[in-house]
């Protein structure tokens, strides 16, 4: 379970995230929504150590170190980015392999000395990577350059990269952005399967239908602060949320 307590992010004098507290119980799918500039992505960046933050974040009772992305990843938190951040000089399978939590003999020792053992681990990693690519429908493109993928495929590749380590919590930053209706439905189906298999989700997105179809709880941010949280029905009826999205009547 992820528990964020009074997380704040400052950029100079600007308070982008202001004492945000949020829980993601085991197996839950939580949506994080809000108007542009409300601090959703910054909050994810804070949780994954990409920007400096204050407050406290715990996962399964262990306090996460702020500003240490690698240590946070090792605690079982994986993420995708607002714009797909794939490595275009690598193939699809290599992109996924980068995120495998089995890092045995990936260094110089495996490269120069313990090669037979390195190959054994590497073959297991390939197998896992292919299985993960298969989950998002990209297995046939495993050896292709990720530079040639369509935008929708790039999204799926990044998702596969997040999934390979069997993370306890997958954080998705606007996963449906730039996708057409068909691709969005396909993505929602994949994420539902991921969720059904026990991975908790924290999803930032602007598409209300997408969020509603996926999440059992929604948290709304405005100007870096939580203004509402609860079930989708309750949240969308909240006057503060209506005002934040539509303005005062």
């Amino acid at each position: 379970m992820l528990r964020a307590h009074e997380v704040s992010v400052h950029f100079g004098g600007v308070r982008a995230v202001d004492r945000v507290s949020l829980d993601v119980p085991d197996g839950a799918a939580v949506g994080l929504v809000g108007p542009n500039g409300s601090g959703k992505s910054t909050f994810l960046n804070a949780l994954t150590g990409v920007v400096p933050a204050t407050g406290r974040v715990e996962i399964d009772g262990h306090t996460l170190p702020f500003g240490k992305p690698r240590a946070i990843r090792q605690c079982g938190l994986a993420r995708t980015f607002q714009t797909p951040q794939n490595f275009t000089e690598l193939s699809c399978i290599e992109n996924v392999l980068l995120s495998d939590s089995d890092r045995r003999l990936t260094g110089l020792g495996g490269s120069w000395v313990l090669r037979p053992a390195m190959w054994r681990h590497e073959r297991q990693r390939w197998k896992r990577a292919i299985e993960t690519l298969d989950r998002v429908g990209l297995a046939p493109l495993a050896e292709h350059s990720s530079a040639g993928l369509s935008y929708g495929q790039q999204r799926l590749l990044e998702l596969a990269r997040g999934l390979i380590g069997e993370p306890s919590l997958l954080m998705l930053d606007e996963p449906s952005a730039g996708l057409n209706a068909t691709e969005t439905v396909r993505l929602a189906e994949i994420l539902k399967q991921v969720h059904a298999q026990g991975t908790s989700l924290l999803v930032v997105d602007h598409k209300i239908d997408f969020i509603d179809s996926l999440c059992d709880q929604i948290v709304v941010l405005q100007l870096g602060q939580v203004i509402a949280s609860g079930s989708p029905d309750a949240v969308w009826r909240d006057p503060q949320v209506v005002e934040a999205y539509l303005g005062e009547a």
């Binding site: 150590g49 000089e89 690598l90 980068l98 292919i130 050896e143 350059s145 993928l149």
Partner: protein, 353 residues
């Protein structure tokens, strides 16, 4: 899936499908083939310098080509290796000298890399340039075993187990063996997870760290490795020439090392070998134009870089493709300098939104 040509069950990173060991064999055959037809002392000299510069270039491939660190310190580590081996072989054998060069070169590189750990990109480049200037001053002023101005003479020719490499042919053969060993070590890195992690570090270190890659450790490793290669090259240079002076390790050398990689091809392990051949061979062919040599050499460099953005290795790749009558494969886009958005799915919406 459109464009699918791979059996997913057998899929693996395409780098493992490349025939690097055959490439190593080919380089070995060509090198020893050339050596067997070489006659003159001058040609032997060029071959020896090519082998040493190739090791230097392979080291820089690890630092810059894979690790993405813009380091001007390769020349300094080349000098450090040369002086270390010259110092060690006053009492010890040649191989101990090379060993001393590796240990001292790697240790100094590690300490330096830790000191400038937080410096990124241009700051790191400036730091390495400053290190080079400091190193030259130290070579010049530290006269415990060298003459004034850092001159060392009488460095013995290589000798391994009572076998002296004291003829041009033997010395050239030894240097080629060292070059092939260096190439083998780089191939082993290429055919391992280290390559993809270094490239991830190179192209987006922050994203790489969110994937669990130890970016700091990896950056140190690639820098120390490349510097170690430079130190070995320096040690070989010392025993080849038999004498040292600080002029050998000037800023011009660091520029030449950049040229070796950029001209040869930054995205290929064979690039440094081709680049080193060009840097060693081309200036010698232009001696007849005396005063205009610098201008012509510069112009040739610019033309090569414009016509062959993938470096000289790109010419060979194009020729190879022509010979095999083969179209581009899906993995052709994997070269850091080859970006083909249309390779899969028409690429029509690759840049959306």
């Amino acid at each position: 899936m459109p464009g699918s040509s791979t059996d997913a069950a057998l899929a693996r990173p395409p780098i493992y499908r490349r025939q690097q060991y055959l490439g190593l064999l080919g380089v070995g055959l060509i090198s020893f083939g050339l050596l067997s037809i070489v006659q003159s002392k001058f040609a032997y000299g060029l071959m020896q310098q090519w082998a040493i510069f190739s090791i230097l270039g392979l080291g820089f491939y690890l630092v810059f080509g894979l690790g993405g660190q813009f380091a001007f310190s390769q020349g300094a580590f080349f000098g450090l290796g040369a002086y270390s081996s010259a110092w060690a072989t006053r009492n010890l054998s040649f191989l101990w000298g090379v060993g001393a060069a590796i240990i001292i070169g790697c240790l100094v590189a590690l300490v330096f890399a830790i000191i400038v750990f937080r410096a990124d990109h241009f700051y790191f480049a400036i730091g390495t340039m400053a290190f080079s200037f400091i190193a030259i001053v130290v070579f010049r002023e530290f006269t415990a075993f060298s003459r004034a101005s850092g001159e060392v003479v009488g460095i013995p020719k290589p000798q391994i187990a009572n076998h002296a490499f004291n003829t041009d042919y033997k010395l050239s053969a030894l240097l080629i063996v060292f070059m092939l060993l260096a190439l083998l070590l780089v191939i082993l890195v290429e055919r391992s997870p280290l390559r993809r992690e270094a490239l991830a570090l190179n192209h987006h270190s922050q994203v790489a760290s969110t994937l669990g890659i130890p970016t700091g450790k990896l950056r140190l490793l690639m820098f120390v490795l490349g510097s170690g290669f430079a130190a070995v090259a320096g040690a070989l240079q010392a025993h080849r020439t038999g004498s040292l002076s600080t002029e050998q390790f000037s800023v011009q050398l660091s520029i030449d090392i950049f040229l070796i990689l950029l001209l040869g091809g930054i995205g290929s392990i064979y690039g440094p070998l081709l680049g080193a051949a060009f840097v060693v061979w081309a200036p010698e062919q232009m001696r007849f134009i005396a005063n205009y040599r610098g201008i012509i050499y510069g112009a040739v460099l610019i033309i090569v870089m414009i016509l062959f953005p993938k470096g000289l290795v790109g010419i060979f790749e194009a020729l190879w493709r022509l010979i095999r009558g083969k179209r581009k494969t899906p993995e052709d886009g994997l070269d850091p300098l080859a970006f083909d958005e249309a390779a899969i799915d028409g690429g029509a919406n690759a840049a959306r939104p």
